[in-house]
Symmetry: C2
Subunit: 180 residues, 2 copies
DNA sequence: ACAATCTATTTTACTAGTAAAATAGATATG
DNA sequence: CATATCTATTTTACTAGTAAAATAGATTGT
């Protein structure tokens, strides 16, 4: 790419919209406003938080007809994939919410008959949470739709690209999780 | 990899902890609980939402000493990189929050003297938001720290890997953004 | 020009999430 | 074998975010 095409690309991007995605626009903004800053890391981290927020909103929207929040659905899915009753504290660790939220979400799901609270035989402080038949049914009915929606989002990528992306994200995730 | 090594890897991962990151554990759970489901898409989407949530929490924690929320900081950074006063509705579009939240956040930031509200000359309904000198100073003082933290998270990846990751994420982001 | 309609922001009334205190059961120590 | 300390969960008191109503200014059609 020569000087002219670089310039014409910049002019195009500034004056005639469509500079790629949200993060491309943000990066261009920083390049102009604070040219001395190296903002290259937002190419990855900005996109991750942006995509994460958009996907979360979409999931919430799709769950509205079930009259269930994303956090409650997350709790149900955590129990569904664990195959055994989990302690409230295990659910808290898996869902990234506070213990107080786990109590609240478990209350609402129990009132709706989607989960049950069991006492632990070993430890009287512990509350075990497990899906009821209705809870299992809800997960079995709705979870595949979310998988399909996710696949759709990745449909622009080849299988090889999806695998490469997953592997790169695993590295970032592991780096992040070791720091708590 | 032969049959034995596959089996030994599975056994290792099930019985001796450390199956990689959070998503590896979740995927194994689904594989056992619902072997008929193709949950491969969570390798990407699950990691994006997980990393997004962890990074968001970390940013909130790091902003606590400034007595400012992540949403407020996001508003300040949006103004800082735009280089001109923005309409409240432009800020709303950039921050992924509701208009009501923009009003609330702008209220608090204006009370603290970090932004100013200006009337638009063209349209009496419009409120323009712009940084004060104090607001600029706060962004200049703190934003570089967040860039450094983000770079640290990506330090396990080569420059080539970071570029590949950014490019793959851009594809996903653009696919998502065209669907609103 | 003037009602009808549209649009940008704010206000109101509400829900979700949290930190810290309270509660209750387990464990350790003298 | 108490009693002090630790741990798991719940309750309380609060903050952040939102949808929908209210407000106020712009636009459109006649």
């Amino acid at each position: 790419m020569n000087y002219v095409s670089v310039v014409s690309r910049l002019v195009t991007m500034e004056n005639f919209a469509a500079p790629g995605d949200f993060v491309d626009a943000a990066r261009q903004g920083w390049a102009k406003a604070r040219p001395e800053l190296d903002v290259s890391s937002i190419e990855v981290m900005g996109r991750i938080t942006r995509i994460g927020a958009l996907v979360t909103q979409r999931v919430e929207h799709d769950l509205a007809p079930e009259d269930i929040t994303r956090a409650e659905f997350d709790l149900l899915c955590t129990l569904a994939r664990s195959g055994r009753p989990l302690r409230a504290s295990e659910v808290t660790a898996a869902t990234m919410l506070s213990g107080a939220s786990t109590t609240k979400n478990a209350d609402r799901l129990a009132r709706r008959g989607l989960i049950e609270r069991l006492p632990s035989e070993r430890d009287g402080r512990v509350v075990l949470l497990q899906l009821t038949a209705d809870g299992h049914a809800l997960v079995d009915r709705t979870f595949p739709n979310f998988l399909a929606r996710d696949q759709e989002l990745l449909s622009g990528l080849t299988a090889r690209e999806q695998a490469a992306l997953a592997e790169l994200l695993r590295k970032v995730a592991m780096n992040l999780e070791v720091r708590h």
